[in-house]
Each structure stands twice: as structure tokens, then as C-alpha cells.
Amino acid sequence: MNFWILLAVNSITFGGLLFLLSAGFSLIFGLMRIPNLTHGSLFMLGAYVGATLIMGILSVQLDFWLAAVLSALVVAAFGALIERLLLRRLPGEPLAQVLVTLGISFMVADFCLMVWGGDPISVATPTHLVGFVRYGVAVFPLYRLAIIGIAAVVAVALWLLLERTRLGAMIRAGVDDPDMARVVGIRVSQIFTIVFGLGAALAGFAGIIGGPILSVYPGLDQDMLPLALVVVILGGTGSLLGSFVGSLIVGFLYNFGQALLPELAYFILFLPMLLVLVLRPQGLFGRQLP
Amino acid sequence: MSALTVSALRKSFGGLHVTKNVDLNVEAGERRLIIGPNGAGKTSLFNQITGDLTPDSGTIRLFGQDITQVPAQRRPHLGMARTYQIITLFARDTIVHNVMLALLGLSKSRWNPFISLGRQRHLVEDARRAIDRVGLGHIAERPLAQTSYGERRRVEIAMALAQNPKVLLLDEPFAGLSIDERRDVQKLLLAIPRDVTIVMIEHNMDVALDFADRITLLHFGEVIVEGTRSEVVADPRTREVYLGH
């Protein structure tokens, strides 16, 4: 009994991390019409930067949460730079933009290998969140509950941002029809940078708060990017609700797959994706892929 | 004998009805002009006739055969050809290659991966004949990227004619042409024999008026008036649509 509950909690936790990762991925896709293939790298970069800050550089050790926020900011700046300096040079050439993001992802992966080496780095759980919560016979790891809480808060905040603010309205207009948005005077190019930075920040943040669970290792980017892709193919591009539902589905499939059929865990993800592709190619909550 | 019959055709996107219960009957050999202001649903109607768009309801018949469910790529094989309002050609290839693609589309050898396309003498000759017909024989080998807008309009028509259609759908063949070029295209269209049925969309009423046997006026996806040239011109509803209330 406890096994199943724990597995479910792990699934939701992983789904929460995936949501943080894929919400930005989905928004960038919705707005710029490209899958940002650096997204896995941004996740990994956030994890490495955060882990370094926590372990301490120059004998200054940072608090876990401060480190998480700082690494999110670093990754956000990096993402915004990619958009400004490279993608900006290829307007109207989505294919070239995708290939550029792919090239950057290789550079980031090799850079991380060079700086942090090939051995996995484990990130300590923040001390105040070590331990368990008991409810009846069930035992819940505190830190995992915290991640679920954070993901829920971010989901609500993102929803408010998109639905209730001026910036959100402009982003939605850009997702619906970039040309029209430009005509009505929205500075789409600035919004591109903001959304790219925001997506990068979320990915980097997810990377470090996922650290105590996943640890940080070379190849983490290649493990996460396809999951984000599957989430977006399942949920539909540019849809926050789609990312949310898709993340939970993938979280459950992945964890239950790992626990029950570890050899085919990766393959099991493939089945719902296949079903969605055949029955509803635009994803559960999305519009047609361009 | 009816060449093309559209009955009770409906299509909407979300709340926008682009085709509202359209009936259209074009006799074999007829020249039909479809007019209407921007957004009247003319091109959407064409797209449903050619199968680019699937209608929500209604039927389309070609020489009596119900083709509503026939996939778009089968319809040219049944004798239907079209041109596009926005020029849709193969910009990296020569004019003759463009027209050869049109011919190849109806030939069984389009599936052949082993023979050389350039050595298919009959295709090359047929293509050149179609190009001569639109008066571009002297530049047949020219890459499309180096041709003028007016020449491309004629390549559009050459591709449709090369397929030897029974029903030819022309979507604004005069769009963007100078007065001289319009006259040339007009001559070219008048030379098409009467065993080809032609349905032509024109946004501008006076351009192709004397070409048509009958005229259909569309407005907001509905047939407003249909009749001979003089009937449609004389009808007060035509004036209303074109001049406002």
C-alpha cells in the first residue's frame, strides 16, 4: 500500500519538475514557433550552477533557496542572450533557429563536462525539509511535497501572469498571431526575449530544485529534453494547461514504468505519445503544429 | 449535361461561415464567372471544389459523379485543374520543368524512381507545346526566379492547360497584371476550346465580364444573384453589394 502511495507522490513530484521545465518550453514554442532544443541544457546548467553555489565557491556557501533563485537568474540571462545574439539573426527561418539551439545544446553539454567533470554531483536536501510527514499509515517525504507545492504556486503564478497582466495579454496575442500582434503595436521582439528568459529561468530553477532527487550529471540534459518534448506533444504547444496535464501524465508513466518495467520505462512514454499523434496530432489542448 | 454541380455546400471556421448553403450548376462548355467583394468566400468555394478544404455538408459533383469524398489529389485525374490567385509555382526550377511537373502529375510514371525525367521526350514536347500556347516558348528554359510577374501568371495557366482538364478553375487570373498583359491573358483564355468548362473567380467586375456566359455573385458566403451578364449587372442587389446600401 505504502509503495503505491509513495510511487504516486514521486510521480506527482516528477510531474511538477517537468511542468516547470515544459511550461517555458511550451510558451517559447507557442510564441516563436520553434522547439528550443537548449531547454534540457538550461535545466542542467541551472542544476550545476546551483549545486556549485550551495557547495560553495571561494568559501561562501549559499542557502539552498538563495542559490536556486540565483542560478535561475544566471540561466535566464544566458537564455535571453541566446535569443538576442543568435536567434534574432535568423528571423523567419525557424529551421535554422532550431539547428542553432541544437548546436548550443552541444556546446553547453561539453562546457559542463569540462567545468564540472564526469562524476555525478549530489545536491543535499535543504536541512529544514529533510524528513517525512506521516498521515495514517502513509509516509510522505517532506522535500517532495515541497516541490509539488512550488510547482503548484508557479503554475498559478504563470496563469495569473498570462491571464491577468498586460504582459500576459501581449504574450497571448503573440502566441495567437504574431503578425497581428506586431500590427497593433506590441513589440514582439522584446516579448521574445522576455519569454525566452522566463522559460530559461523556469528550466534552470527546475534543474536545481530537482537536484536533491535527480542529482546532477553529464547527460541530464539529454534525459530531460525528450521528456519536455513528449509533454508538449501530449499537451499541445503553447498551452499552459496542456503542459500541466502532460507533465502529470509523463510523471506517472515514467515513475510507474521505472518501478514496474525498468527496462522499458522509456518506451512506455512512447505509447501515449503515439496515441495522441494518431488521434489528435495537435495535442490534447493545443492547436495544430505549424 | 452539367459539368460541375455544387449543392447545399456549407463550411464554417469557428463562428465564421465562409460558405452558406451554396448551390452552383455549371453546364459543360460554359464560361462561368464568380464575382464578389473581398471575403465573399470565392476562394474557399474553389478550395472545397478542389478538395483542399473539406466542406461541413453538401455535395460536389463532376459530370454527375459525386466527388465530395474523393481525396484532393485524385480530382485532377478526374479532369479538374486549377490556378491560384497567389502564384504558387516552383521557383527554383525552369518554366519547362514547372509545366512538366503538371504533366507528370497525371502520368503513371510519376512513381518511377529509375528513369530520367529529362529524357521523357513526350513529356518535354507536351510541356513545350503548352508553353507555346501561352506565348512563352522563347523563354521556356528560363528559371522561374528570373521571370516577370506577368509571365508567371501565364505559367500558372500553362500548367493547368497542360493537364488537359475538362473543368478549369481560374482564381483571379488577371490579378496584378498591367492592361496590356490583361489583354494577352484574355486572348489566351478566349482561345481555349469549348470542350473545356471554365469557372473563373474575379474580384473586379469589369475585367472579365464579356468573357462569361453566366455570372454568380457571392457575398458573405452566399449566392446573392445568378444569371446572364445583363441580368446580373441590372440586378439592384449587385449594385447594393458593390456600392454599399
Binding site: 520553434i34 543568435l86 525557424p94 529551421l95 541544437l102 552541444f106 569540462m114 539529454q222 506533444i233 | -
Partner: protein
């Protein structure tokens, strides 16, 4: 001398050079590099068929390449003979390609990239985790090479010649295909898919057959690869492998015959030379990728030709980018 004669002479010279290569490249190391260039060129032919001629960028082809490699290695390890293993690997590879194509051809453009990437990653994940079949990270060893007609392929020279013959056959097949009606139709679906439908072409089916041909070439290359290395591991299916071959195509020049060969030579040589000095191949791969996409989007072969012409004719036309999605307005 006319251009045609010049081209023919160049081809003949290249052919002679390749036939006599083991005679003037006496070091086994270089003969092996040449073999690698040739089988990667076959792989690049396959990817170019989709990327260059169909406008479909696949980031999952290393998965198909890997399926053929793993199938060969697995069947050999299971005790099957060489001819049977090779034939079975081709059949398994083509069957997988058909599924791959049926799923990914539901879209084109960016959607195609995403789905092929996801499929490629799933195949990589399978190779990595399905340990009872693939032996996981340890990979599968292939202990012997085949001996066609009693001709042993153990030496680097012998393997080179077989690879060369297979390469020639593939190159000729591709050359015939791109000049054929089906090849012309495929290019048509790249530039104006809607128009092609209106002209009576079955766009989906044309793309499907292109995928199958591409898959065949990819699987042939994969089988040569596994015999060359006598080893296969999940690394071969990684996204970097798919990206490497895409880089070969776009650096050499998409939709050209020579481009994939030049690109393969470039990538293989740079990779062998660079890995002799530093271990940072992936960083360089990424950097070259970014640089080529931004600076020379039409590829090295057409790009060099363009710069060459620019030098003494001052052509003023804008560079054409094959990386643009959607049909160019005429």
C-alpha cells in the same frame, strides 16, 4: 573545355583516387578514416534525401542507423550467419523506418523535427535501458567480419574496398533517383506541397517512399558501421549522432549529390584530427553548427561556389537558404 567535360574529368579523377587509395595512403589509420568517410557519406545520402530533397529535417535518424547496427550485432551474437543477419537487419530496419515514417509524416516542418527527435531519443533510451537485449551501456561485440566469396574483410584495405563498392552503388542509386520523375515529385512536395496535391500527386505517399529509401541507405550505413567498429553501444543512437549527420548534410550542401560526401569528409576528418589533440569534439561540433547555420546556410559546396562566383562576377542575388520552411513565394 566545357563545364560538362570538366565535371566528368573531375569525377574520373576522384574515382581513380578512391580506387587506388590504399596504394598511396599506406598507413592503416588513414585507410580506416577513408572507410569511415564513405559509410558516413551513405548515411548522409539518406538524410539528405529527406533534408535536401524533401525539406524534412530528421533528428532521429541515428535511431534507425542504430536499429540496423544492433539487429546485425544481436543476430550475429545469437549465432546467425553473416548473410542472414545482414538481410534480417535490413528488413528490421526498413520495417522500423515504415513505423518511423508513418508517425513523423503526420506533420512537416518543425513538427517533423520534434517528432523525429522524440522517436530518436526513445530508440536511444531503449538501447540504453533494455539491457536484456542490448546489453545496455556495455554494448554488443561483433567478433568476425563476413567473407563474401571467400574474400576476407579483416584487413583495413579489404574493408575499404567493400565499403567503396557499396558506396558507389548507393551514390549511383541516389543519382538516378534525384533525376527521376519520383525525385522531381519529391522536390515538388518540398517547395509547394499544396500545388503538388492540386496537380494530382499523393504528397504523403511520395514522402513516405522517400523516407523508405532514406531508411534503406541509413540501414546499409549502419550495417557497415557495426562491421567496421565490430562493436555497437547506445552512444551511436544519441542525439549527437543524428546531429552530426545533419551537420554533414548542411555543411556539404543540401540537395546536392556531392554535398553529403564533402560534409562527411569534413566531419570525419575534423573529428579524427581534433580528438587527437583535445577531447572537446562536441563543443566544436556545436560551434561549427551555429557558425554554418548563421554564416553559410546553403552549405559549403554551394557556399564556396557562391563566393567564387561573387569574386569575379559580382553577382547580386541574395543567398538562397534551404533551411527556410514553407514554399518560397514564386
Amino acid at each position: 573545355m566545357s563545364r560538362g567535360v570538366l565535371g566528368l574529368a573531375g569525377l574520373a579523377a576522384a574515382f581513380l583516387a578512391l580506387v587506388t587509395l590504399p596504394l598511396w595512403l599506406t598507413q592503416i589509420y588513414y585507410v580506416n578514416v577513408a572507410s569511415q568517410i564513405l559509410f558516413y557519406a551513405i548515411f548522409a545520402f539518406g538524410v539528405n534525401l529527406l533534408l535536401g530533397y524533401a525539406g524534412l529535417v530528421s533528428l532521429g535518424h541515428a535511431g534507425l542507423f542504430g536499429i540496423a547496427s544492433y539487429a546485425t550485432a544481436y543476430l550475429l551474437a545469437a549465432g546467425w550467419g553473416h548473410p542472414l543477419s545482414i538481410i534480417a537487419a535490413l528488413i528490421i530496419g526498413l520495417f522500423s523506418t515504415a513505423i518511423f515514417a508513418a508517425l513523423s509524416l503526420r506533420t512537416s516542418g518543425i513538427g517533423f523535427i520534434m517528432i523525429t527527435l522524440a522517436l530518436g531519443e526513445i530508440l536511444w533510451g531503449l538501447a540504453y535501458r533494455w539491457i536484456s537485449v542490448t546489453n545496455g551501456d556495455n554494448g554488443i561485440n561483433v567478433h568476425t567480419r563476413p567473407t563474401p566469396f571467400g574474400f576476407s574483410l579483416t584487413s583495413a584495405e579489404a574493408f575499404y574496398y567493400v565499403t567503396f563498392v557499396v558506396f558507389l552503388i548507393c551514390a549511383i542509386l541516389v543519382a538516378i533517383f534525384v533525376r527521376s520523375p519520383l525525385g522531381a515529385a519529391l522536390r515538388g512536395t518540398r517547395d509547394q506541397p499544396r500545388r503538388m496535391t492540386a496537380l494530382g500527386y499523393h504528397v504523403w505517399m511520395i514522402r513516405f517512399w522517400a523516407c523508405m529509401f532514406s531508411g534503406l541507405l541509413t540501414c546499409v550505413a549502419g550495417i557497415l558501421f557495426v562491421y567496421y567498429n565490430q562493436f555497437i553501444s547506445p552512444q551511436t543512437l544519441a542525439l549527437t549522432s543524428s546531429a552530426e549527420v545533419v551537420l554533414m548534410v548542411i555543411s556539404g550542401g543540401p540537395a546536392t549529390l556531392l554535398g553529403p560526401v564533402v560534409g562527411s569528409a569534413l566531419v570525419v576528418i575534423v573529428k579524427s584530427v581534433v580528438s587527437g589533440y583535445i577531447a572537446r569534439w562536441n563543443f566544436l561540433l556545436g560551434a561549427i553548427f551555429v557558425a554554418i547555420v548563421i554564416l553559410m546556410p546553403e552549405g559549403l559546396v554551394p557556399g564556396t561556389v557562391r563566393l567564387w562566383k561573387l569574386g569575379w562576377r559580382r553577382a547580386t542575388t541574395r543567398r538562397p537558404s534551404v533551411l527556410k520552411t514553407g514554399g518560397p513565394p514564386a
